[in-house]
């Protein structure tokens, strides 16, 4: 066995039991199916129901939450679950002993339970919120159908026991997100946003699918259990395959999780309804990339991680950490200049995904996932709060807001909680998870990245303060009179506020809840348990650095925007030369993407057009002309004279024969009887003679 694995098992404080989880794990498959049942029911019956089918979506999510909660507590209370249910549905014998096996099923382990629970919990609250938010909107039935599909595809993805089902869920998520981003398709911009998201994701998906094929065929199995066992065993012969597969799949993960430079679709994806953004950013879709990295953790960490690429400049792990670090800081800066409230949150999400990616890539399995876990709550809370604000002022732009804290007290308070959690203020959830990431980076020796992350924390606090100041403080600049949202929308806000506050305590180093263990232990229930660093006690020094950066950010933000948040001047103070235009232009990433597409695709398209016009069309036209000539000949010579002549002849012959034969039909019964008798006699005589 791999010494690393042995070391991990010996050194790990979380002992791992591989145990079947009883009935709950067997019923877990229901979670993967129920959203699709809801989808069909919504399409079938939704139109005539009070909430246009939203009831089914909520019911399915409620059922999922019940199952996920049961699993969650079973897993948390000592009985660590690890169960896989697989049904083989097809098999292609491509290679000797390496059949391409298509399997469906579901997986129950610490990682998937966590994801199930997050998707179900956040999904349920967002769905309930959407009942109010989407009330009276266009195509509500369609919306809920797509929404159910979205959640269902995500559950298929996180429950997948193999790469193929994961790809199915992955593409399903892409499809549903396309439908939802383009929900208001009357506006061309929204359609373009949907297209952009879809195409960007497709670029990444090519990497994922190729990587899956490399990895699956290389190792000989698509099941995560086998892939991870093979990765842990660390066969040297497989390393090349593993490196190629891991890098290609990391491209897929970059697309889904909006890592630099494939992040360009995510801010535009704000075109969809706000609940979509909330779900997309908190629980589904963007977390898929991080989930994939975690699911194939052994591949990335022990098989491919240390391989040097690009001529030895950098290792695979280094590349991933670097991309994560760039994402977390650069995208955070972009949030500083965005005027659209949802876009602020969107860049914030990308930045936080950068944190997660960096952590997982650097070896902080628990740290990255813990941040995913806490982030889901407060980001959902923030998006729903933003939705509430947008619902009230009918605008996305912060220039139309201001002074809403009095009009919308619930939204304001929950938004503040979410923002503090995101900024990483002790003792809210974000503080503990971010601290864990910082600790991991410190432990793994990425000092530079550690300081980038600290800077990111500062930027996070800064832009959240700006957003709050512009939205809730100052004077109202929009039209009409904003009012607080209905209970069906504020309810989920408060519910989400609770885990935003307390979720962090689940994984405070050294803190145990008796038999309830902690987050690290739950996650440890895995197919191939490979430990990561988890300190015995909080490193208060690192915590102080992170907290200090956050506090500094809030203070600076308040200093800049707090006093006169409603003046244009306040924002102008930020117009630092070079940096500000760069940020406003979003680092010209869209332009670069367009340029790439334009430079490569333009000439190629023109060339193809030429080929099409002169060569293909010529061939086709030629074939057409020949065919027409042939057709004329066939029509005139063969059909009209030959075939028609034949059939006309047959018809005339039939007619003549009928005219002749009708004389036989005299209507005289006795002549018929005579014929009948003669016929019978001939038969009898024939039998008698030739017997």
């Amino acid at each position: 066995m791999n010494p690393l694995v042995l070391a991990a098992e010996e050194g790990a404080e979380h002992a791992v039991e591989l145990a079947a989880g009883g009935a709950a794990t067997q019923w877990a498959g229901l979670m993967l199916v129920s959203p699709f049942v809801a989808f069909l029911l919504i399409i079938w019956l939704g139109k005539n129901m009070k909430y246009k089918g939203g009831e089914f979506a909520v019911a399915a999510m409620g059922l999922n939450l019940v199952i996920a909660t049961i699993l969650f507590f079973q897993n948390a209370q000592g009985g660590i679950l690890n169960d896989t249910h697989i049904f083989e549905i097809g098999r292609i014998g491509l290679f000797e002993g390496r059949d391409l096996v298509f399997e469906l099923g579901w997986m129950v382990d610490g990682l998937s339970i966590m994801m199930y629970w997050v998707v179900a919990f956040v999904g349920l609250l967002v769905f309930i919120y959407a009942l109010g938010y989407m009330h009276g909107d266009v195509r509500v039935t369609m919306f809920f159908a797509s929404f159910s599909l979205f959640a269902g595809a995500m559950l298929i993805l996180v429950g997948a026991p193999n790469l193929i089902q994961l790809i199915i869920g992955w593409e399903g998520v892409g499809l549903a997100s396309y439908l939802l981003i383009g929900h208001y398709w009357e506006d061309l911009d929204n359609v373009r946003s949907g297209n952009k998201a879809f195409l960007t994701n497709k670029v990444a998906d090519v990497g994922l699918i190729l990587g899956a094929i490399f990895l699956g065929m290389g190792i000989g199995d698509f099941r995560f259990t086998h892939i991870n066992e093979a990765a842990a065993a660390g066969e040297a012969g497989l390393q090349t395959v593993a490196v190629a597969g891991a890098l290609l799949m990391f491209l897929g993960a970059m697309g889904k999780s909006a890592q630099f430079p494939l992040h360009i679709w995510l801010p535009d994806a704000m075109a969809g309804p706000t609940p979509v953004s909330a779900l997309m950013h908190a629980a589904t879709m963007v977390t898929a990339g991080v989930y994939l990295m975690a699911r194939l953790f052994p591949v990335y960490q022990y098989m491919a991680g240390e391989a040097e690429i690009l001529g030895g400049i950098i290792t695979v792990r280094g590349l991933m950490v670097g991309i994560g670090a760039i994402t977390l800081l650069a995208m955070g800066l972009l949030a500083l200049v965005a005027n659209d409230l949802k876009k602020v949150l969107a860049y914030s999400t990308v930045s936080q995904l950068g944190y997660m990616m960096t952590a997982v890539a650097a070896g902080g399995y628990t740290a990255g996932l813990f941040h995913l876990f806490t982030h889901a709550f407060f980001k959902a809370l923030l998006f729903l709060g933003a939705g509430s604000v947008i619902h009230a002022v009918h605008s996305n732009n912060m220039t139309d807001m201001g002074g809403l804290r009095k009009d919308m007290p619930h939204t304001f308070r929950t938004f503040i909680i979410g923002s503090l959690a995101l900024a990483g203020i002790i003792p809210l959830a974000g503080f503990w998870s971010k601290d864990e990431i910082l600790a991991t980076l410190d432990y793994e020796g990425y000092t530079f990245v550690f300081w980038v992350a600290v800077a990111g924390a500062f930027v996070t606090a800064f832009y959240m303060t700006r957003a709050i100041a512009l939205t809730f403080f100052g004077t109202y600049k929009g039209h009409g009179h904003p009012h607080e949202s209905p209970t069906i929308m504020t309810g989920p806000l408060w519910v989400l506020a609770v885990p935003s506050v307390i979720a962090g305590f689940l994984n405070v180093p050294g803190l145990e809840f008796g038999s309830f263990h902690n987050f690290t232990t739950w996650l440890a229930a895995r197919v191939v348990p490979l430990g990561d660093h988890h300190p015995e006690a909080p490193d208060w020094g690192l915590a102080a650095i992170g907290l200090g950066a956050a506090v500094l950010g809030i203070a600076l933000g308040w200093l800049v925007f707090g006093r006169d948040a409603d003046t244009q001047e306040a924002r102008d103070r930020l117009e630092i030369p070079v940096l500000y235009p760069l940020l406003r232009a979003k680092y010209f990433m869209d332009h670069i993407a367009w340029a790439i597409v334009g430079f490569t695709m333009g000439p190629a398209a023109r060339a193809m057009n030429w080929v099409n016009t002169y060569i293909l069309d010529g061939i086709v036209n030629g074939v057409g002309a020949i065919t027409m000539a042939l057709g004329r000949f066939v029509y005139g010579g063969v059909d009209q004279r030959g075939i028609d002549g034949f059939f006309n002849g047959v018809a005339m012959a039939s007619d003549a024969a009928g005219s002749a034969m009708r004389k036989l039909q005299t209507g005289r019964v006795q002549q018929y009887a005579a014929g009948f008798m003669v016929g019978a006699l001939v038969l009898v005589a024939a039998v008698a003679i030739f017997r």
């Binding site: 006795q670 005579a674 008798m677 003669v678 006699l681 009898v684 005589a685 008698a688």
Partner: protein
């Protein structure tokens, strides 16, 4: 079996007499130019057939033929003849004279084929157990045992024929006539 041996059995004399009568009556049935005569000759032919059946020890069937054919069917025929106004005198238009040669040829061919096949099939086979009538009990057990379903079906057919005959033959009364009929 030679002809004189065959002729030495007195039963065959009886057969010859009856058979001759039957054939004579049969010929007259199809050639008589008087419809009632034809019906009466049919009585003769049927009675002769019944007698032949008696010779073949089928007592019950023979008397059934008498009861059903002669007692009921022929009477029905006579009814039909009289209702359709058969003239008392010779009816020269009773036959389709043009059809006679064809009909004769077909009939002769039928006779030839049937006779040939009969001779082919049975040759000189003797009739078994002459003068030993089949007990009616045997027939009864056959009809009401093994063949009870066909028996019921035939009964049903008879019922349907009865109802159908009545429905077809009854004159449709005008409403005024109905009322008059009902008033009586």
């Amino acid at each position: 079996m030679t002809f004189d041996v065959w002729l030495s059995d007195p039963v065959n004399w009886v057969y010859l007499a009856i058979g001759a009568a039957v054939l004579l009556c049969g010929v007259r049935v199809v050639t008589s130019q008087n419809v009632v005569h034809a019906a009466l000759f049919l009585v003769g032919a049927l009675a002769g057939s019944a007698a032949l059946m008696l010779l073949l020890s089928a007592e019950f069937v023979a008397w059934t033929v008498v009861l059903v054919y002669i007692g009921a069917v022929i009477v029905l025929f006579l009814f039909g003849i009289m209702i359709t106004r058969a003239p008392v005198v010779r009816d020269v238009g009773l036959d389709n004279k043009k059809a006679r040669p064809v009909a004769a040829v077909v009939a002769l061919a039928t006779f030839a084929v049937l006779t040939y096949t009969s001779l082919l099939a049975f040759g000189n086979t003797e009739v078994a157990r002459v003068g030993d009538p089949t007990p009616t009990e045997t027939l009864a057990e056959g009809l009401l045992g093994r063949f009870v379903l066909p028996f019921e079906v035939v009964g049903f057919i008879l019922l349907a024929a009865l109802i159908g005959g009545i429905t077809l033959a009854r004159r449709d009364l005008s409403p005024a006539e109905e009322e008059e009929r009902g008033a009586v």
